[in-house]
């Protein structure tokens, strides 16, 4: 069956129409959506990045940091996406420059969707990062990668149970074998356009003392910045004394994070 025939046979069905992905490589201008790619090291994040953007990508440093930053573009279903590869990290809590870059981009760069790549063989460790990302953003997709390796090790992951518990879509993938890329793109598009609504899991179970401090701060934050989407996370960062969040509060620029894209988000990207 040729591609032509396939297209005819499938007609208007949009679930698996072939060839809708166009790799743009370096061309990231005029993107409709910004997608951030997060994940632990060694989870196949780069494989997915390359599969989506092609081999041509813009590689530079994050401003003021010696952390490599790669970005590229692609279009899917007529929409153009700009994909930012965040540094591979195990968490977003420490003060290493890798984690700082990833954390600040998610918090202040305000991507439309954050894709979190996880290794199906060591789900528990990977979920630590997922939960932290979900504290910051509510538009996320989990790419459950390396399922082929997990199967070989006798591990099966119930992706639907996982999606239910996390409150965001979960797409099983084996990116090295190009399995699941299309599902992943479709889900990404759904979340970006708002068709798929996420209700991300937020950790609500800190001990009473921490809870009290967090709630106290959240109240104060909401008073000043109504509609701040990730007040709990911001409160936690303030409790830890995170300098970039403290800076945003001092400037009063934190509030702009509450209203979608900020004017300087694009500058931060450039």
């Amino acid at each position: 069956m040729t591609v032509d025939q396939t297209q005819k046979a499938c007609g208007g069905c949009t679930s698996c129409a072939p060839g809708r992905l166009e790799r743009y490589g370096l061309a990231t201008a005029g993107a409709d959506y910004v997608v951030a790619l997060a994940g632990n090291p060694n989870t196949g994040k780069s494989t997915i990045f390359n599969a989506l953007t092609g081999l041509r990508q813009h590689v530079g440093n994050w401003p003021g940091k010696t952390v490599v930053r790669a970005e590229g573009g692609f279009s899917f279903d007529g929409r153009r996406y700009r994909l930012i590869d965040l540094p591979g990290t195990y968490s977003l809590l420490s003060n290493s420059s890798d984690e700082e870059v990833a954390r600040d981009f998610l918090l202040f760069g305000q991507p439309d969707v954050t894709a979190i790549v996880v290794d199906a063989s060591s789900l528990e460790r990977n979920l630590n990062l997922v939960l932290q990302v979900l504290e910051i953003t509510d538009r996320a997709v989990v790419a459950l990668n390396l399922i082929d390796e997990a199967e070989r090790n006798g591990i099966t992951v119930d992706d639907r149970a996982l999606a239910r518990d996390l409150g965001v879509p979960v797409v099983p993938m084996a990116a090295r074998k190009s399995k699941g890329i299309k599902d992943f793109l479709q889900t990404l598009a759904g979340v970006a356009s708002g068709e798929v609504v996420c209700r991300p899991k937020r950790v609500e179970r800190f001990d009473a003392e921490v809870e009290r401090a967090v709630n106290d701060l959240v109240r104060a934050l909401h008073e000043n910045y109504p509609g701040l989407p990730n007040a709990r996370w911001v409160a936690l960062r303030l409790l830890e004394g995170d300098p970039s969040v403290v800076h945003e509060v001092q400037n009063g620029t934190l509030g702009e994070a509450a209203h979608g894209h900020r004017p300087d988000a694009e500058v931060a990207l450039a």
């Binding site: 789900l123 528990e124 997922v130 518990d165 179970r205 921490v210 106290d216 000043n224």
Partner: protein, 470 residues
């Protein structure tokens, strides 16, 4: 409520919550992640490989057995090294410092070379290089492949894991365990490896304490002195075991000093919070034995040996010159050693050892050969008058040091302690300067271990005197 109020509120809460906030947040996240993963993941069959890893990790990273297992493993490596290095060391010593030396001297005599020239080149430059090879090559050729095998097997990250708790108690970064492990190979490399630590405060602590990791240049000194002074006190059957034990003890002492000094620094001049990090324990892999032996011989043994030889040649020349140029009837070396002797003996060492540590600033590798040459040159014994002919069998090293140098068990023990606690070599100091960009901290890195070393040696010597052992 203004922006400043929010920050004040946050600061107030932060103070009340104390240092434990980070751990409590991480704990909540982990338990959440664990319970979600438990529900979603099911495992069946084909777990043999993982089960093996888990079982092994249950021992090697266990709270109670982890550290004893670590001591046992490294002890085993040293024991194999000490037991195995005896015979080849003696053979090499015989070949290089007796046969080849005799042949060279005969050739120089046949060519009618002037005595000062042949003395300078053969008794100075050649002999120091020959001793470096004879003393260092056999233990290195055994120890480095063993160490690389452990590394290849995936054991070193487990060591970091075991030590993490101790480092965090000391107010230092857990990754310091990794730069410390690197320091066991080479302190300069260990100092560069501290780049993985992001917090400048914790990085500086790691740099300043890296010298407490016994480096390649110092292992042979410890192994040799441990064998001829400590091992010799035990019955013959147990000698190499006791010797290995003494080397492990010194290495452990180094780890203890790393922790104590890190703790002291982080409580005084380098105060601050400890940051968290994630350490991935890679799966155990069957080590590739042949490849490991091949690469560790080429990459480690030969490189370290080459550096030692290159440094030994000028050092040998310097030693020969200061032993043979006379000022008012005695050699320069004599005057320097005599000047250093009272202080040296006070701290349970001697003037020759102190002078050797000055000559050996470029490379710790040449300490033992330098001490031997100085001892022989300075004692106007029959041996020395014959030239510096000496077969480098371990018993004879002991004979020279005890007989001509007046060494005791205390000198041996204190040399081992001082080998652990003295200034880093010049390469490491240069690296520290490049990494910190600060003359002040480079000076601290050099002065701190010397002061500690002299103090510890003095305490040991005082204890020996108090007990009437010397």
């Amino acid at each position: 409520m203004s922006h400043a109020d929010i920050l004040r509120l946050a600061a107030r809460h932060r103070e009340r919550l104390g240092d434990t906030l980070h751990d409590r947040v991480v704990e909540a996240l982990y338990s959440e992640a664990g319970s979600i993963a438990d529900k979603a993941v099911s495992r069946e069959g084909q777990r043999s490989k993982w089960a093996f890893d888990l079982a092994l990790d249950r021992i090697l990273t266990s709270k109670t057995l982890g550290i004893p297992a670590m001591i046992l493993l490294f002890g085993l490596a040293f024991w194999i090294t000490i037991a195995g290095a005896n015979v080849p060391s003696a053979m090499l010593g015989d070949l290089l410092t007796v046969k080849v030396l005799g042949w060279l001297q005969a050739m120089a005599a046949a060519m009618g070379a002037p005595a000062w020239l042949s003395g300078f080149l053969i008794d100075g430059v050649y002999l120091s290089m020959a001793w470096v090879i004879a003393v260092m090559l056999p233990p290195m050729a055994i120890f480095f492949p063993l160490f690389t095998l452990l590394e290849d097997f995936g054991y070193l990250p487990r060591v970091a894991f075991n030590l993490d708790r101790a480092f965090s108690k000391a107010g230092a970064h857990g990754k310091q365990a990794l730069s410390m492990m690197m320091g066991f190979g080479c302190n300069a490399a260990g100092v560069v490896a501290t780049r993985i630590i992001d917090s400048p405060r914790e990085r500086l602590i790691a740099i300043l304490t890296n010298n407490f990791s016994i480096c390649n240049g110092r292992w042979p000194t410890l192994i040799l002195v441990g064998t001829i002074f400590i091992g010799a006190t035990a019955p013959a059957a147990l000698a190499s075991l006791v010797a290995a034990g003494s080397v492990v003890l010194i290495a452990l002492l180094g780890v203890i000093f790393t922790l104590l000094v890190s703790g002291a620094l982080s409580k005084t001049v380098l105060k601050g919070e400890t940051s968290a990090f994630t350490l991935e324990l890679p799966p155990y892999r069957p080590p590739r034995v042949l490849q490991t032996i091949y690469t560790s011989l080429l990459d480690r043994t030969m490189i370290v040996l080459w550096r030692a030889i290159v440094m030994a040649a000028p050092a040998g020349a310097v030693i020969w010159l200061i032993s043979n140029i006379d000022v008012s009837g005695q050699s320069i070396a004599y005057w320097v050693v005599s000047a250093l002797n009272p202080f040296g003996l006070l701290v349970g060492l001697n003037g020759i050892i102190l002078l050797a540590y000055i000559v050996a600033i470029p490379a710790n590798e040449i300490i033992i050969p330098t001490i031997l040459m100085l001892t022989l040159n300075l004692s106007k014994s029959a041996l020395a008058q014959k030239g510096v002919m000496l077969e480098l069998e371990e018993n004879q090293v002991r004979d020279v040091l005890v007989g001509q140098g007046g060494w005791t068990l205390l000198t041996g023990i204190n040399l081992m302690l001082f080998s652990l606690l003295h200034n880093p070599c010049s390469t490491t100091l240069l690296t520290i300067y490049r990494e910190t960009g600060s003359k002040k901290w480079t000076f601290v890195a050099a002065a701190l271990p010397i002061v500690l070393g002299l103090a510890v040696c003095f305490l040991t010597a005082s204890f020996f005197r108090l007990m009437g052992w010397v």
